[in-house]
Amino acid sequence: MNWNTILFLLVPYAVVPLAVVASAYRLLYRPYTVSSLSSQILESRKLFWGSISFHWGLVLVLTGHLVALLLPRSITLWNAAPIRLYLLEATGLALGLWALAGGAVLAWRRYSDARVRAVTRPADVIVLVLLVVSMVTGVLTATLYSFGSSWFTAVFTPYLWSLATLRPRPELVADLPWLVKLHAFNFFLLAATFPFTRLVHIVTLPLGYLYRPWQLVIWARRPSRDTGARR
């Protein structure tokens, strides 16, 4: 049992079931605590620049990770031509920097705005620190150890599948630089904090809207002169 086995085999197998079970418990038995704990009502100007860039940057970068995990061959083929490889790498870095800048704005807002600070709890600080670590190590990995989009499919795709199929091969990540390992391990820490913090609001993504029956809204009142005609 070495450190690599502990960090990249035991920890994921401990935190992922914990995250799933505790999130399910919270959704079922404490549904009204599932919240993003929005502080928009207290401060909205900095929130605009921080929140939008942070959320969209992160969602798109995470989608990239997911594509590399589920369709690794598509990434390999795309990267076969140098110009396409550089385009993908630069796009990923731009999105990562966009998210990181947004995260920095959010951290600054939480520190500098007295009203936001008043509602800040330790868990919020922990989540923010973990997210910033994730983004900083991600951006550094992308620039110091090129070309992440390609070697992810050689190292992390088989590693994550080995965990998912219960045939763990933690040795796949053993020889990677510590910065890359920190980036990966930090994700497990985020998973561990997921059900107990505001991160849990991710499960409230209203995917149901994509397939629910459409509704026709008919207003049973006469058009108002002041607010303009509405239906």
């Binding site: 035991l10 505790a22 704990l37 140098p82 630069a90 620039t143 110091l144 390609s150 796949l172 990677l176």
Partner: protein, 288 residues
Amino acid sequence: MLQTGWKKAIYSCSFVVLWVSVLSVGSGEALAADGAAVYQARCSACHGAEGEGRGSFPVLADNPFLDDEAAVTDVVRGGRGAMPGFPQLSEEDVAALTTYLRATWGAAPGSGEGETTNTTAAGTGATGTTAPDAEGTGGEPLKPGDPHNGEALFVGATAFTSGAPPCQACHSAGANGRAGGGLLLGTDLTDLAERAGGAAGISGMLAAPAFPVMLAAYEGKPISEQERADLGAYFEDLAASDTGSGSILAGKLWLLGAAGAAVLFGLMGLFWPRHRVTAAERLRGGAR
């Protein structure tokens, strides 16, 4: 309510830490180091299963260098010339490997002064034009390789039949993989043919790649003999074409990324709706 959740988080984390520590205490014997196994896994691809050497990788059999235990440990840890270091090997592994090397091929302790073999020259002469294979039987004539197919394999345009990842994921060579800027996970391979002793040496190295990240990534995904020959031909052409490895344009990727992020912020500022008009604002606007 969330305070309760926070307490639970602390309890759960403590539980996980406790569990991990209990599990990790009882399993210290798992690392029973086996020098021969370490050698086969990490060293034999380049130095040969019988220590016979390949390309510019020296012969280990009866090599007087092995007499200096400290020097051997240093080279295993830090690398030397074309050989990468293996800092990820544990103390026990390195000690077992050093003991194995000295016991198998080294002279008896204290009797090595008389030998003066030039290790590099011996290594180069040992392989000649034959392609050593994974099993270490050697002596097989090298298949002619197709450099174009080799390049396609390098960049990933043609996939390895075993599903092994393309070289360009971590390495650059010639013009391939250089314009992105920054460093690479692997080393630049433009002059690999010179460092590894030509196509034969490259083919031997790739029969069982033992380099840090490659070892695990290529496990169970062998590169076929024809593919190794093609890659060897590509690297030989590359070394002969005198493109030079050049310097990677550090900062280009940073510049593109920063510019991209700035454009995204600009678009956001120009086009993203700031906030919805609230009912109160509508009423105030209508009252005017």
